[in-house]
Amino acid sequence: MTVDRELTMSRAIVEAIGSEMRENEEVFYMGEDVADYGGIFDSTQGLLEEFGYDRIMDVPISETAYLGAAVGAAQQGMRPIAELMFVDFFGVAMDQIYNQMAKNTYMSGGSVSVPMVMTTAVGGTYSDAAQHSQTLYGTFAHLPGMKVVVPSTAYDAKGLMHNAIRDDDPVVYMYHKRLMGLGWLPAPPGPKTPVPEEDYTIPFGRADVKREGADVTVVTLGLHVHRALDAAESLAADGVDVEVIDLRTLVPLDRETVVESVRKTGRLVVVDEDYRSFGLSGEIVSTVADEALDSLAAVERVAMPDVPIPYARELEGEVLPGTDDIEAAVRNVR
């Protein structure tokens, strides 16, 4: 009976957080508009009613102050979850994230750990312009010290959130706004999945093959898992058998699953909503070049061009990797 229950991604995330808060009184959540409002992307919907203002805390608009407070609380043994409302805002608290959260375990010689989760909303598709539409996956995965999680379905989101809260290291949990299942920002089919009511964890560093195929490997994450699956569906009608790999976590990165798949197909397309240069797509391609160059017959990247993301709907649609772009890339490497 419970197996049939479907949840949106936001509800799956909230269910994991609520369960961890019931189990462990050191877990608490803070961020802008997370209490009365329930999170502007529903990331804390309903939690205030159960846990109250002491554990679901609205904060003033100072990311430096509350992310710093979260780092301190974590070092003292609590398990804070602190929400950066839009990932684009990380710059105002860069020292807290890059130098304190990510490095204090190392700098203290291991005498403190920082078991916190920084949740943050990522991604475009809804005309929110250049300062509210980025994914910045590469920016967080680049710097050593943080684990980086990017779920694409409700099932994965719940298991990964349980794991994130229980992890003794800082975890950056990046949820794509378009996948959350909001009334004003409808999700495509795909992220809403059956979700068991009981707790379960999904280990970090294990990619998920969302579709098996023999001809071309598509490596992606977040929203573009669903766009790649759509592309695979229409390519299947033309006899092209596409394998779609959902990375799920960037740090740690499951290089093995990617390399294994390319050894099978010989053809690789990397699809990334983050900027093309100096990022995820380059990392995946070089991983395959390092470990399976002899298997690699053709490769292509589909990523955000290196420009600020436009506000105008048509222009944003132009720069965002679309299903048709993925299809074209797959045909190119065939």
Binding site: M1, D4, R5, E6, L7, T8, R11, G181, L182, G183, W184, P186, K192
Partner: protein, 86 residues
């Protein structure tokens, strides 16, 4: 047969201050044919930018969804039917 079925109604009981009478179904959390429990969230609807959950009025089987996702409705409309049972 049909008079035994219990309607799942978007009755507007969640607010006494609705100016709009029209809403839209945002998400269904159950599919037709599923056993449901009284009080569990069956779907989420949105009226005047406010989202609320509609709960199952009784235990039973969700036999028919009348208003699917993205369908519009007027307050008071039946969204689905449940055939009562343990």
């Amino acid at each position: 047969m049909s008079e035994d079925r219990v309607p799942v109604v978007a009755d507007g009981a969640w607010t006494d201050d609705v100016d709009e009478e029209e809403g839209v179904v945002v998400n269904w959390f159950a599919k037709e044919g599923r056993r449901v429990t009284a009080g569990e969230s069956l779907c989420e609807v949105q009226v005047e930018k406010v989202s609320v959950d509609i709960a199952a009025p009784t235990d039973g089987e969700l036999v028919e969804i009348v208003r699917d996702e993205n369908a519009e409705f007027t307050i008071g409309d039946t969204l689905a039917w449940i055939e009562p049972g343990e």
